[in-house]
Amino acid sequence: MKKLLLIAILTVGSLFAQVKSDVEVPYISYQIKMGKGFDAVQANCLMCHSFGYIINQGPQSRLFWDKKVDKMITHFKAPISKEDKVIVVNYLFKHYGNGKLK
């Protein structure tokens, strides 16, 4: 955080200053609910985007999470095994589910 502020101050008013040094995009520490299956989420879901991208959907049905993981596999070519998919969907439904199957 301290480092970031420094960068921000340095760039004020000076053209191109931002890229004279490397830009640092901060990391956010998301409040992640721990529980069975989280390991699988960490291994399968966080290589392409942050946890924030996932929980921004709000509480959803089991079918929703099932389809979402399918989308990751078919469209974005996420390398997720059948077994892991089940574990991830169970985790998401348990912690970020709305109680409905459909």
């Binding site: 890229v19 995009v25 901060p26 392409c48 942050s50 974005f76």
Partner: protein, 398 residues
């Protein structure tokens, strides 16, 4: 793509859908009250923050009391997590290849000295802005109303670059590629394709935004500016322009940023439209920046309702305000000094004479006579695109 009949037909269509299908999609006011993060991203003030990888930042409603959006409050939307964190300005080039007489590799210096420098003030809006208005939830970030902004862009005309390269006879599609990359090698990259016929002299390759270099998170050092079009076409960190004769099938063209290709552009969650088309021109829309829902205002006080309105460049004719749930409408004052692609600022003086809750509604009308529908009449679509319902804020008079 004209949307002249959009409003008329959508009322009929949604009535029909609601009558026959219990699982119809419903559209309402988008979400409000998102929390501003306490963490600032490079060159930005703290904003509503959805994700760090890729960065997704939304402007607050209060931002839109002004017709020009400050660079450090301007929304940020990347698709893929891997964005270069260092750009060497001396070696950065934009490459133009494919069906051209002469391939070009243009440095930033050449771009700024060998071509005519032009400016355009234009709204940039994500096609999924206000997506949180759709139920059931539609795929993608659940934006409130702040995935938009308006800036003065400076750069060179795309047509000047293409003329310099010389288009071959069979040139038909132009592909735009930026430097953002997927984290996994098989994930499709974000490439946009536009038809040559869609591109006019207003399309520019910009290096400046509101008199400053583009902020890093808004596409430094170069981005495509397509006035009137949704932002998925405004490729950031633009590095390559490829001219082709055939349309290439790419994920982000074939699957994302598409709406139903039927008369009402609508579908239901159980019966998704088979045929879809890309989103292109923005529809007419307005957002009230002040006051905001939940605020208390004083009885008999002098309130100036403020906000912005825009469309795809036909221009805003008027903004109508209602404080009696849509029974009567009065015209707001407009400030239009930045051209037809820019935000029109509106103001409306309101003296609350009754205690209790009051809703303020804003409805923009463009020069073609197209106007915003009520939120419930905006057709539901599975991608949650193109929401443009009449904006409603509810305040309490005390």
């Amino acid at each position: 793509m004209q949307r002249r009949d959009f409003f008329k037909t959508s009322i009929v269509a949604s009535a029909a859908i609601l009558g026959t299908n219990l699982n119809a999609g419903i559209t309402h006011q988008p979400k409000i009250g998102q929390i501003v993060s306490n963490m600032a991203f490079p060159e930005k003030r703290p904003m509503i923050t959805y994700s760090d990888r890729p960065p997704l930042l939304e402007s607050t409603r209060a931002t839109f009391v002004r017709g020009i959006t400050e660079n450090d409050e301007f929304f940020v939307r990347w698709h893929l997590p891997d964005i270069p964190t260092h750009i060497d300005l001396d070696s950065y080039t934009i490459k133009i290849n494919g069906l051209v007489e002469k391939e070009l590799n243009i440095t930033l210096k050449e771009l700024k000295s060998d071509y005519e420098q032009v400016e355009v003030t234009s709204v940039l809006q994500c096609g999924g802005n206000s997506r949180s208005a759709f139920t059931p939830i539609t795929g993608g970030i659940q934006w409130g109303s702040g995935a938009m902004g308006c800036a003065k862009w400076k750069g060179v005309r795309l047509s000047d670059l293409l003329n310099r390269a010389g288009l071959k006879k069979n040139a038909h599609w132009i592909g735009f590629n930026g430097l953002e990359k997927a984290a996994y090698f098989e994930t499709p990259n974000f490439v946009r394709e536009l038809e040559l016929t869609e591109l006019d002299d207003h399309v520019i390759i910009a290096y400046e935004m509101n008199g400053e270099d583009l902020p890093y998170l808004n596409g430094f050092p170069l981005r495509l500016v397509v006035p009137g079009y949704y932002s998925d076409s405004w490729v950031k960190m633009l590095s390559n322009i490829t001219v082709t004769d055939k349309y290439k099938h790419l994920f982000f063209m074939d699957m994302a940023y598409r709406v139903p290709d039927n008369a009402t552009e609508s579908e239901t969650p159980d019966h998704l439209a088979k045929k879809t088309k890309p989103i292109t021109h923005m529809n007419v829309k307005s957002v009230i920046a002040y006051p905001e829902t939940g605020m208390k205002i004083y009885h008999n006080s002098h309130i100036v309702v403020r906000g912005v309105a825009f469309d795809d460049g036909h221009g805003i004719r008027k903004v109508m305000i209602s404080v009696d749930n849509g029974k009567t409408w009065k015209e707001a004052l407009l400030k239009q000094e930045n051209g037809r692609y820019a935000f029109t600022e509106f103001r409306f003086v309101f003296k609350p004479t009754e205690y209790g809750k009051v809703s303020i509604m804003a409805k923009a009308v463009n020069r073609l006579g197209e106007e915003q529908p009520l939120a419930k009449n905006v057709p539901w679509n599975h991608g949650g695109y193109m929401y443009n319902g009449i904006d409603v804020v509810t305040v309490e008079v005390v």
